[in-house]
Symmetry: C2
Subunit: 261 residues, 2 copies
Amino acid sequence: MTKPPVTSDHRTGGTLSRRERVREATLAEIKETARRHLVEFGVAGVSLRAIAREMGMTAPGLYRYVPGIDALLVSITADMYEELADVVAEADASMPEEDTDGRILTSLRAFRNWAISHQPEFSVMFGPRTRLDPEADITSALEAGRRFGSTFFTLFDRLVAEERFALPADDDLPVALRRELRSFADTVGFSSPNVPEGAVMVLTTCWVRLYGVVCMEVFQHLNFVVGDMEPLFESELRNMATDLGVRYSPLEGAGGQAAKA
Amino acid sequence: MTKPPVTSDHRTGGTLSRRERVREATLAEIKETARRHLVEFGVAGVSLRAIAREMGMTAPGLYRYVPGIDALLVSITADMYEELADVVAEADASMPEEDTDGRILTSLRAFRNWAISHQPEFSVMFGPRTRLDPEADITSALEAGRRFGSTFFTLFDRLVAEERFALPADDDLPVALRRELRSFADTVGFSSPNVPEGAVMVLTTCWVRLYGVVCMEVFQHLNFVVGDMEPLFESELRNMATDLGVRYSPLEGAGGQAAKA
DNA sequence: CATATTCGTGAACAGCGTTTGCTAACGGTG
DNA sequence: CACCGTTAGCAAACGCTGTTCACGAATATG
């Protein structure tokens, strides 16, 4: 808020005063510690006192950096959305530009892989808001989530552009549904300005399925009876690919034993 | 554990001594209060001290009835599975016996309705285990959940029996997937002893989608941008019905404006 | 150098889960 | 009825939590 102080004998080069630098470093350390506690003990195990203790200071001191535990949790949640978006984007970029099919599959698998290797984070991001005060200000996390979403849906956008799958005629959709789909498309940020509602519906359906399998796996609502969820995920991935007009290719690592396709 | 005391001047009619009766009443009151707090303040707002306070006693007293807060939460979670199973079963029973299509649709809608009208409960049941100690004994809730699942999947079982939809040939499924599907079928309790894996896969796919839409709605991971999720749910329901060979009929209440179907 | 801002602390309040010893009531028996 | 064991419930205490406040000390600014 305050303009960068013109003072300072030291290099004000980075437009960052010495004070601001150490301040930001401390804030970063706080968030790193919080994140580590989240991973180690779950969201219930994140406490200001424990963080302060580990950093060699006292809890009230943290209030110079963060307005409270809720805000801290919201803050690291926003960071995690950013991180996940990067992971997906990197996976996407790791494939040849023109290989749309490969890029899609790789990105979706990257999403799942991040989810199952970051269960506490995923639970906070995609599970119910259980710990936070219902009146807490979560707009920053919401905003980051929206940015993640757009990164994600941009992938699908290519498919729409390439007209990979047959769209259901817009007239076949109930108007109430069409209205919701349009509002969704507008907010989520499709590059094509006027995507047909039918396309949005197919994509939404896919997103629901992806969300469903991954949540089920991370929240362990099936794997206590299924064990290895990967075949199930791959099966769903295959179904989704079919619906999207994407050529499915089995996972390389584990010997596929795939279908004749 | 102890055999019913042969004593008692009063009616031992119900095989329940006076002491046991008031004891069970108190336990019931504890669980009711906990449930109410869960609904009012969310899972984070359920505390032994607050429960005791409201009941006019002190927290340590509750330990005569419950070994701790975790066990209490697990206990009411099990009850909630029971309740949800009943609701679904009642919805099912409310339709004419032979109207399989109607029974399916009604039951699925009952599931969603319960979920969105019992968000805190649903979050605890189907969301990540965020509050409980990871080493807590949740077998009773798991068992209740399994019973709920079997109630639920029994519905689909009829469809398999009636051969409503074309099964994917078992040979088309990767062996790893087939193994998981079989283990799933065995545990979840299908009435048909030897359901083909292809059928189980279709049903699992549907369950994933149902879980996905409902979680998304309850956890509010889309409705901040969509508003009314009902059209989306109905759309998914319609898709699922199609995959299951079930004739979809639009929701009666709200004027459908439905497709030409 | 003097002054203003920031950082961090210690103490305190209110809440939490849980354990420990105690009292008082209750249930069944002689 | 009197006796006695079982049980219910309580007060106190320990250690944990978030948060507020007043204060001192270090730092940056004029």
